[in-house]
Amino acid sequence: MTYLPKPAIRHPALPVNALGLTRRDYEGSVSTLCAGCGHDSISAAIVHAAFELDLPPHRIAKLSGIGCSSKTPTYFLGKSHGFNSVHGRMPSVATGASLANRDLIYLGVSGDGDTASIGLGQFAHAMRRNVRMVYIVENNGVYGLTKGQFSATSDKGAKSKRGVTNNDEAIDLVGTALGLGASFVARGFSGDKTQLVPLIKAALQHRGAAFIDCVSPCVAFNNHPGSTKSFDFVREHNEAVNHLDFITPRTEITADYAPGAVEVVVQHDGSLLRLRKLAADYDVHDRVAAMAWLQQRQSAGEIVTGLLYVEPETVDLHGHLNTVGVPLNGLAEPELCPGSEALDRLNAGLR
């Protein structure tokens, strides 16, 4: 049994969700990021998504690494347990947490330095293990917290605010995730909440590793003209392949789009994803085509966004390990300890 949060005293006009909670109940403490930082918009989108999905906040565990982006879990879901771990290692902590209790929702937040630079290895292995979690990279193409150094997603040839040129190839995280066998891959933009909120909702319902690379401009160090991670650049070059509406099983599907322009994806739990196709011939279930599409559009200077790939019937790490259906952290002595008789038999075999 779980105790549901009791809604705080609130303004009567604030809308409530099915749990009787308001948006406020999903917020965290006041952000200490720079005014206008893209990361704050992502926090707001997370609040929005969790509220609309009627998720009990305490059934979510927030995990992060180190960076401005990794600080954000303090700024949303204040009633959830949070874990600000070490730089680049959030995925392993999330993997362990998920093994201990398969019943919670794990929401990992990271930065491009945290994931693509120091943490590339752990990111890769969490994807290929298909740990059931939402993994959001708040990608600003720069180290914000340490004041503007290049990260592994900074564009090749990009000039930093200080005038230094980056000569290294940029790592494209969605392409990498696809190559690693990730079962849910999306890209969003912190400046486009209507696209981002449904992506986060879909990710929260996904039964495997759900990866969202979210372009999130750093107003302090990487929002200048010429930066592909600046607000202006992304707005101009954003090429969404689809628009996603997350629909719970309760919602009716209304066909108000031209046939063929909408695809309904049935998730494992019966919930539905309604995809409004913007690129008519884009198939979200074809990994190889998705990789090719990305390469083509990106070389044309576009930033491809939307739900890029999803495997609704995916088998996650617990499925592969064949662990029991109940949380491992709830097992007690009888299920764990074989007892003295078994030990006596074992002793007998060691003589």
Partner: protein, 619 residues
């Protein structure tokens, strides 16, 4: 060359000798050698084998050394009374190692020049290759059965009961019954040859005894893994490294047996072979933060990689169990040799002011006991617990007391605030020292809808887990962590003291795998008139008994298997003991410490500094 040189009167010893097998790695000798040791054990005579192996899969030299000791000495003795020289690459070194009057057993198929032998040993040749070649055509069979044939010959030479070996072969191949007869046949090929052509038995003999009792024979890594199963570990994350890999593998083996649902096949455990040690400790910390009992097993290089995370677990107060099966360091060092050289690195792992709890098991029985207890301690103290094995204990099978478990024993999950307590309004401050023992309450994620959630971080925080870099809040927290460390002193396994029969002004402190050699050294020293009180340390931080023991003696020898006297450093720093009072006895060439080494070193120093009243030597 005659089959046996009778010029030398060979050693005459019953149930007290060392046999060393010199083999080639990958030649299949391990199983025959193990049968040899187990047959002696089955005859009721304590036998302690040690594997000396290279970091290699096939081709390099490997040795298996069996000490037979009815008196029960389980430590490494050094030297060989009988060398089973099966490796031409190491022949000269092996022959040189035989004690005068000892025996050399070799494959006499190809004649060897007289210069290859020594005049002061007894040489026993058996044409093993010739016997094999005339019996088997398949090259792999020739290779494998050669091992069983020499085992058969040795059984006749040492008077080992062939039926005991036959029985062991039967047990070993249970389920693969068609392998039993060919192995028994090979055994008798060797045995019959020896009985027909050699004078059997030789001066070294095994005689039935009842000195084994109900003890069990197992390696420390398996025992620690079994302890983890009994201790309720459900999550294990590891990265392969010698000499710790077999611990994780044993955990999987036991879990398959004890934690798998018979009908559904569902597992009540999760094991991940991680991508590296950073990830393995990260997974352990994530799982333990989330309320599961979790551990990793590694060795020195892995410990080095885990440093940052260990500091996080210390400062954020997350339980974790780390088995460090130590090998020769620094760096890749001697990967297949033994040392106790990670003591300081673990005691103060990670940057900033940190201190950690270490447990030092002496044998597989304690690996089991401490293996289980480590999870209680980790939960109780909410901190990483290091279980410090080493290659000598971890990878060698050793006779030890049978495992015991009290079915009324409950897992101590420590201070965890429940849903009900939170609902009833209990005050929750994650870092609030409610009981003045330095240990705060924690909550598992997902416990309660409105109360008990907190933010876990590696940054400084106040008593309510709120980020704070206020000096006062930081110091308050760091001081509480020290109080918690004080609490650990009384919770961790207490040292074991063994006093000399009479008053002794000198004492020796030792720990872990040094134990059997130390026990034997005391007897050797007593024969030389040196009386010694002993204190076996089983945990860090040190129990008050340790300071008391040091205070009671004029001089203390600290016996360790590392170059720098790492435990001695801990004693001087943490117990503020005058370093002059602590004399180092250090053995660190990668081989297990021996009683002879300890006795020599202590006798030399004790007699030189004239601090030992010379008592009459025992006649």
């Amino acid at each position: 060359m005659p089959a046996r040189l009778d010029r030398v009167a060979g050693l005459e010893r019953v149930n007290d000798f060392v046999v060393k097998f010199a083999n080639v790695n990958g030649s299949g000798s391990a199983s025959a050698n193990r049968l040899f040791a187990r047959a002696i054990l089955r005859m009721g005579v304590p036998a302690t084998p040690r594997n000396i192996f290279p970091s290699n899969i096939q081709g390099l030299p490997t040795w298996y050394q069996v000490r037979v000791s009815e008196a029960g000495h389980l430590g490494c003795r050094g030297g060989a009374d009988l060398m089973v020289a099966m490796n031409p690459q190491t022949w000269d070194k092996d022959v040189a190692e035989i004690v005068p009057g000892g025996y050399l057993f070799y494959d006499s198929t190809k004649p060897l020049p007289a210069s290859k032998f020594r005049g002061d040993i007894v040489v026993i040749g058996v044409p093993l290759t010739a016997i094999c070649n005339s019996t088997y055509t398949d090259p792999r069979q020739r290779q494998l059965f050669k091992n069983i044939i020499y085992l058969g010959a040795l059984s006749a030479l040492l008077d080992i009961d062939a039926q005991v070996i036959e029985q062991l072969i039967g047990e070993q191949f249970q389920g693969k019954d068609k392998l039993i007869a060919p192995n028994v046949h090979a055994l008798h090929l060797g045995r019959d040859h020896a009985l027909a052509h050699l004078q059997c038995p030789i001066g070294l003999r095994v005689r039935r005894s009842d000195a084994v009792g109900d003890r069990v024979f197992i390696d420390g890594n398996s025992a620690a893994a079994l302890g983890s199963v009994y201790g309720g570990a459900t999550v294990a994350a590891w990265y392969p490294i010698t000499p710790s890999s077999s611990l994780a593998e044993a955990f999987e083996r036991y879990c398959r047996r004890y934690r798998t649902d018979k009908t559904t096949g569902e597992k009540r455990y999760a094991i991940i072979q991680a991508e590296d040690e950073l990830a393995s400790i990260g997974m352990v910390i994530g799982a333990a933060w989330n309320g599961a009992r979790a551990f990793t097993a590694t060795s020195g290089p892995g410990i080095s990689l885990m440093q940052e995370f260990i500091g996080l677990a210390y400062f954020a107060e997350i339980p974790a169990v780390i088995f460090d099966v130590q090998r020769g360091g620094p760096s890749t060092g001697m990967p297949t040799r033994t040392q106790q050289a990670d003591v300081l690195c673990c005691a103060y792992a990670s940057h900033g002011d940190t201190k950690h709890v270490l447990l030092f098991p002496q044998d597989p029985a304690e690996c089991f006991e401490f293996g289980a207890a480590a999870f209680d301690l980790a939960d109780r103290l909410q901190t990483p617990i290091f279980v410090m094995l080493d290659l000598d204990i971890g990878m060698n099978e050793r006779l030890c007391p049978a495992f015991a478990w009290d079915d009324s024993r409950r897992l101590d999950r420590g201070k965890v605030m429940t849903q009900e307590e939170l609902e009833q309004g209990a005050e929750f401050g994650r870092y609030l020292d409610v009981d003045a023992d330095g240990i705060p309450f924690r909550t598992y994620p997902g416990t309660h809808g409105a109360r008990g959630a907190f933010f876990t971080r590696g940054t400084s925080k106040d008593r309510f887990a709120r980020y704070s870099e206020e000096g006062a809040a930081y110091i308050d927290n760091m001081q509480r962590l020290l109080r918690k460390f004080e609490t650990a002193k009384l919770l961790a396994p207490r040292p074991v003291r063994t006093d000399a029969t009479g008053p002794a002004p000198i004492g020796a402190i030792y720990y872990g795998s040094t134990s059997p050699a130390m026990d034997e050294a005391v007897a050797l020293l007593a024969e030389r008139g040196v009386a010694l009180d002993l204190l076996r340390i089983r945990a860090f931080p040190f129990h008050p008994d340790v300071g008391a023991f040091v205070a009671e003696h004029e001089q203390i020898f600290v016996v360790e298997q590392n170059r720098d006297g790492q435990l001695r450093m801990l004693l001087t720093v943490e117990e503020e003991i005058d370093p002059k009072k602590l004399t180092r006895i250090l053995h660190y060439d990668g081989t297990p410490i021996t009683a002879r080494f300890i006795a020599e070193a202590i006798a030399e120093q004790a007699l030189a500094s004239n601090i030992v009243p010379l008592r009459k030597a025992v006649p």
